[in-house]
Every structure is written in structure tokens, then in C-alpha cells.
């Protein structure tokens, strides 16, 4: 049996509304960022392949570093979708009093998927950092050629 109404106070409902606002903002930025990363990844891959002939080790590391960009874009896209779904469930929880627990469970299920992808995002970002390190060591002339801003900057998803 589930609880139809979780008696949140006005302050708590306001806090959840603020959370929903940030989640919506983040989802929109994620969609824009996903498009940016996918485009950057596609455009950066072509010159990266050409570099392999000149400097095999550095070129491969650079290509793999660039290959992480479209992966990050795809992860951002999925994260945005799950953030929107979690936001929808939380919104339904505070706006109605008929199935609060059910909405809450849905929200946490979506957030679980969101954090799963977030983990993947940070992992791919860290892998990109390792390849970046290899590029810095073996092909320093290419180290500053990352298109756009660095995906790992500020330690989180851009």
C-alpha cells in the first residue's frame, strides 16, 4: 500500500519547486550541450585521423580523446531526458495529492538512471583526461587543439 499524500510543508514544496526549476534548466542546457558535443566530436574526428600518420602514438591518443566527445554528447542527451522525467514526477508529486509515493518512486527511479549516466559521464571524462595526458606527453603540439571548451573543465558536465 502506498501513501497518497506526503504532507510536505509550504517551505518544502517551495524547495522542491526550486529543484524542479534547476532540473528543467539543466535538461535544456544538456540538450544544447549534447548537440554541441556531437557536432564538435564529428568535426574533430576527421583531422584527428589525419594526424595519426605523422605521430602514431600521439595521433591515436588524440583521436581517442576526440572520440570521447560524441560519447559525452550522447550521455548528455540521455541525462537531459531523465532529468526532465524526474522533474515531471516531482512536479506531479507536489501539485497533486492522489499518488505522492508513486510519483516519488518514479522520480527516484529516473534519478537513479540519471546518476548512472552521470557516473558514465565522469568516467568518460576521466578517460578523456588520460588520453589528454598522453597527448600532452607524446604530441605536445596537438595538446591545445581540443575543439570547443574542455569537457572535463570545472570537473563536471558542461
Amino acid at each position: 500500500m502506498s501513501v497518497a499524500r506526503i504532507p510536505f510543508t509550504t517551505e518544502e514544496e517551495s524547495m522542491i519547486s526550486t529543484l524542479n526549476g534547476w532540473m528543467l534548466f539543466l535538461a535544456i542546457v544538456h540538450f544544447i550541450g549534447a548537440a554541441f558535443f556531437l557536432l564538435c566530436g564529428c568535426f574533430a574526428m576527421l583531422p584527428a585521423f589525419a594526424v595519426i600518420g605523422n605521430n602514431p602514438l600521439g595521433g591515436v591518443a588524440y583521436t581517442l580523446q576526440m572520440f570521447t566527445l560524441p560519447i559525452l554528447g550522447a550521455l548528455m542527451l540521455a541525462e537531459g531526458v531523465f532529468a526532465l522525467q524526474a522533474r515531471g514526477a516531482l512536479d506531479a508529486m507536489i501539485s497533486s495529492d492522489s499518488a505522492d509515493q508513486q510519483h516519488l518512486s518514479t522520480a527516484f527511479a529516473k534519478l537513479k538512471l540519471f546518476f548512472m549516466l552521470e557516473l558514465g559521464w565522469f568516467a568518460v571524462s576521466a578517460i578523456g583526461g588520460v588520453f589528454g595526458l598522453l597527448v600532452s606527453v607524446f604530441a605536445p603540439e596537438m595538446a591545445g587543439q581540443t575543439p570547443g571548451f574542455d569537457p572535463s573543465q570545472f570537473g563536471g558536465a558542461p
Partner: protein, 196 residues
Amino acid sequence: MSFGQSGGGGFGQPPSGGGGFGQPPSGGGGFGQPPSGGGGFGQPPSGGGGPPGGGGGLGHIPFTPEDDANLTGMARFARFAAVAAIVAGVFQLLTQLVAALMTDSPAAGFAGQLCFGAIGLGVTGLLAFFLFQVGKAVDLVVTTDGADQMHLVESLRALKGYFMVKGILYILAFFLFCTCFAMAMMFGMAAFSALR
């Protein structure tokens, strides 16, 4: 199911006197008069059903095993993401430092990259802190039964902090990008006009 507060359910105890039919009178056949008090359930006690008042919130939210698995999984992945965020931040810092050392003027580049990397690592640490808070509060919702709603609100508050920090970072990144773009345009135009 319990709500951790008194005043709970909608049905009270049945009044004494119980069932609908009384004992048959001795000596005769058929049915006697039912005793006063009637059958079924009595009136609910004062305080009635619905959520408990007093602002204490629900002590126990009866999550199903599937919900519990989702909550536990979410807490686990939030913690993993926190660790991964810190690792990614450290890798990024190392990459920047190595890249700075490979330049022609390592001393100047090293200080700048170290400063920039340290800020990045600090922000990563803040995000990780919020993620750990989320994980801890959600775990308390699942493992304890005293103040589920309070822990739930704590987890949502930590989530708000996490999403807010990320949102502010996005805004700052956007302004940084715009500033860099504007400066590049200005320098480009200046160089172009100097060439003419």
C-alpha cells in the same frame, strides 16, 4: 503499515456487543433481538484518518521492495558519481599541469594551470559533497523508520544544491565562452584592420 504518528487509521474498534444476531431465547425457536450497539465497525476515533498533523511529517513511508531497490541504487550511483567526479577532476588537473610543463615557459603556465585546475577540483569537490549527502540521506530513508520524510527532504535539498551548483557552472561557462568569443572577435578585427 504504520505512519509513525498517533491518530492514524479511519476505523476504530468495534463496539462491544458485536454481531448482528443475538442469542436465541432459551426454550424457543427462531431468532432473538439483536443487542444494542449493532454490528460492524464503530465510529473512527477522534483525530480521524489522513496524514498526521503537527508538521512532523511521515515517520515511515511504506516503499515496496522495488522502490527500495531504486532508492538504494540511486544512492549507490550518486556515491560512485561523486568518486568519479573527484577522479576526473584530479586527472584534469594533472593533464593541465603536464601540458603547462611541456610549454616553452613552464613556470608561468604552471602557476596559471595550477590555479585554474585547483578551482576546477574545488568545484568538483563541492559537487561530490552534495552527491554524498544525497546518498547518505536516501540510505537513511531506506534503512531507518523514524523520520523518513525528514530524510527524504534532506535528500531533495542536497539534490537541489547539486543541480544548483551545476546550473551556476553552466551559466558561468556560457558567460566565459561569450567573453572569449567576443575577445577573439575583437582581436581578430583589430588584427584585420592593422593588416589593411
